[in-house]
């Protein structure tokens, strides 16, 4: 019993190169397998192909086949498919269609034609298994990211598929929820024999339940099968996977700090009825590089969201001495943002327009945009929409667009998220050189303490709902 891929080739469009390219391989149901690799290597696509969602929903299958327990899921109707393979997605906001937790689980059970008299019992069992019995009648939009992922898991528990596929399920939730969900998945595997295949670029949440780690690179599955219980850091590093603690050897000019450009004074960020971050005080100076560490869900993105004006805040944040709430029109744009999801920062209709938006005041903008696009290997895509690029290409474009822009303070929300070691170093070197050469304050968030230590002049950490200076 397992999943088998045979000479699989898949692309999102006929004129784009295949995302999965002549892939062969197999995964056993008796093992919890984590599939990892750099962003854009094709691991999520492979998961969607295994679940039978592609090519029906997107793209073209150029060759080969995928079989799950001997069946090609893409040829089955959704209700039959759901009994074999259930899926948990990365974005907890875009996977529900009903209003409450209970109604969502009922919706799933009705889809697979569960007899009405069994539905109530199955819903209660699924809620109890996931430890969310108290949330049954809560509206889905009022739940936290972790609670939403537990609801998604409860849907799978109710359906009881033979396999559970997970696409970076912990990317947007706090560590505690991630750990709790991972433990429950481990129980589903050991007690009910469900096969588990998870795509994740971070391995730490899976330690303890994972049996095997497989690595993908450029649309192919690498032959090596790693034992998740005895991972060798050297081996992971040679495969391009970031190993916590590994050094980056940055090559950036020394610090020459100037005046304070951004100042946070008693900042409070509310969330729901409580306070997510309180009493945040910090000063960021020209030419300085500042790292903000913190677990998932600790409030790093919310802090940046407040500074960009997306989220409300109390207290004071000043850019060059002027309150962010009362910026003059000439001050708008002095603070640039690189968002965790590059799609949140795209404003151009084409790849080239995205770069041109940053260079529009420069006399040689056309020439400069060509140079930048050639340097990041996106010149051939200059006339297509940025949304059509792969995730890795989108991140390169998003970073390059903001590096080209002339701001006084650059805020980067996890700029190296889901990148391999080579891309991480390239992105960080480019950002830090920009900060030093143009004398701007660079503030970036990361999970990786070593990355912060290697690149930042000063490190902050969000702990206990506030920002503390670490070094």
């Amino acid at each position: 019993m397992g999943i088998r891929f045979e000479n699989l080739a898949f692309s999102y469009s006929d004129d784009l190169r295949p995302v999965v390219d002549g892939l062969d391989g197999a995964f056993s149901r008796s093992e919890v397998t984590i599939l990892t690799g750099a962003s854009g290597c094709g691991k999520s696509t492979l998961l969607y192909l295994a679940a039978g969602l592609y090519p029906g929903s997107a793209g073209t299958l150029r060759s080969g086949c995928v079989e799950v327990d001997g069946k090609e899921l893409r040829k089955l109707q959704p209700p039959q498919r759901a009994r074999i393979a259930g899926m948990m997605f990365q974005n907890p906001d875009l996977q529900f269609c009903m209003d409450t937790v209970r109604n969502e689980i009922i919706f799933c059970l009705e889809n697979i034609c569960t007899p009405p008299e069994e539905i109530g019992r199955k819903v209660d069992e699924a809620l109890a298994f996931c430890g969310i019995s108290g949330l049954g009648d809560r509206m889905l939009h009022s739940l936290s990211g972790g609670e939403k992922q537990k609801t998604a898991l409860a849907c799978l528990v109710a359906i009881k598929p033979e396999w559970i596929f997970l696409d970076e399920p912990f990317a947007n939730i706090d560590e505690e929820s991630a750990r709790s969900i991972a433990m429950k998945l481990g129980r589903l595997h050991s007690e009910q024999g469900m096969g588990i295949l998870a795509v994740d670029h971070r391995l730490d949440s899976w330690m303890g339940i994972a049996d095997t780690v497989r690595v993908m690179e450029n649309g192919k599955l690498l032959g090596e099968k790693l034992d998740a219980r005895h991972l060798d850091p050297g081996q992971l590093e040679s495969l391009g996977i970031i190993v916590p603690g590994g050094s980056y050897d940055p090559s950036i000019p020394p610090a020459k700090l100037g005046d304070t450009v951004l100042e946070l004074d008693g900042l409070n960020i509310p969330q729901g009825g409580s306070c997510l971050l309180h009493d945040v005080n910090a000063a960021f100076r020209r030419g300085g590089i500042y790292a903000i560490l913190g677990q998932s869900g600790s409030g790093k993105s919310s802090l940046f969201g407040a500074l960009s004006g997306v989220l409300p805040y109390k207290g004071e944040a000043r850019l060059e001495g002027r309150s962010l709430r009362h910026l003059r029109s000439s001050d708008i744009g002095k603070m640039g943002f690189i968002t965790q999801n590059p799609q949140d920062q795209f404003i151009g209709g084409t790849v080239r327009q995205e770069i041109m938006a940053s260079l529009r005041r420069m006399p040689d903008a056309e020439k400069r945009s060509e140079e930048i696009l050639r340097a990041i290997r996106l010149w051939r895509y200059r006339d297509i929409s940025p949304y059509l690029l792969s995730q890795g290409q989108q991140r390169r474009l998003g970073t390059a667009a903001l590096i080209a822009y002339d701001c006084h303070c650059l805020i980067c929300d996890e700029p190296t998220y889901a990148q391999d070691r080579r891309n991480t170093i390239a992105i960080m070197d480019a950002l830090c050189r920009q900060a030093r050469e143009k004398n701007i304050a660079l503030v970036f968030s990361t999970h990786d303490r070593k990355l912060a230590e290697d690149y930042a002049d000063m490190i902050f950490e969000i702990k206990g709902g506030t920002l503390n200076a670490v070094s």
Binding site: R81, F89, F96, I106, L140, V310, G333, Q343
Partner: protein, 233 residues
Amino acid sequence: MRSLNPACKFISLLAVTVVLAGRMDPLWNTAAFILSAALIIVSGVRIRTLLLLLLPVALAALGMFFTGYRFTADSAMPVSSAAFLSGSSQLVNGITQASRVFAYAGLGYLFALTTDRILMVRSFRRQFHLPQVFAYGLLAAWGAFPHMAMEYRKTKAAFRARGIRVFPVSPALLAPLLVKSVRWSDELSIAMESKGFSARAERSDSSPAKVHLRDWIMLILCCAVLPAASILI
């Protein structure tokens, strides 16, 4: 009102609007509005919420009042000074038009504020044979709607981060939102499919929407008694 079958409630309230459309009587309009407002409040909706919702209605009613007041059937065209003198037929016409706005809004709010959307979808599917892909697609879109406001703010911030000021409804601002909404609908449909939802496949129904005696009474009152009374009175 909350316990009525949504499909029957919909037909009944539709019948009332048709009856009101056939009459030029401010008393009937006012009675329909007062009754609707009373039923909304009895159903547990806060008076403050209702008053806030009636604010734009009041503005529309004011506009309709002056339109009706100014353009009565017996008014002269083009505009003359006589047109600005108050006459009883002008006043009645203005009040009729304004009260009609309140009556229709009241009936609309009565349905919207006292109907559970999940129950409505179940009922429309069963009683009107609404295709399930349309019914559940609508529910999913409704669920994603609150995220639109956040995405709007994010897109605006992205422009600001590059020193570009945009107007609230600028096409430059709406284009990325449009692309994102298409991508969301793709993601949602994939998520629904992964949970076994299909446009064509048979589904079970855990709590089928039934038509009870109270629904029949409502239907008879609104679809037979009221039109008959309207003709006779």
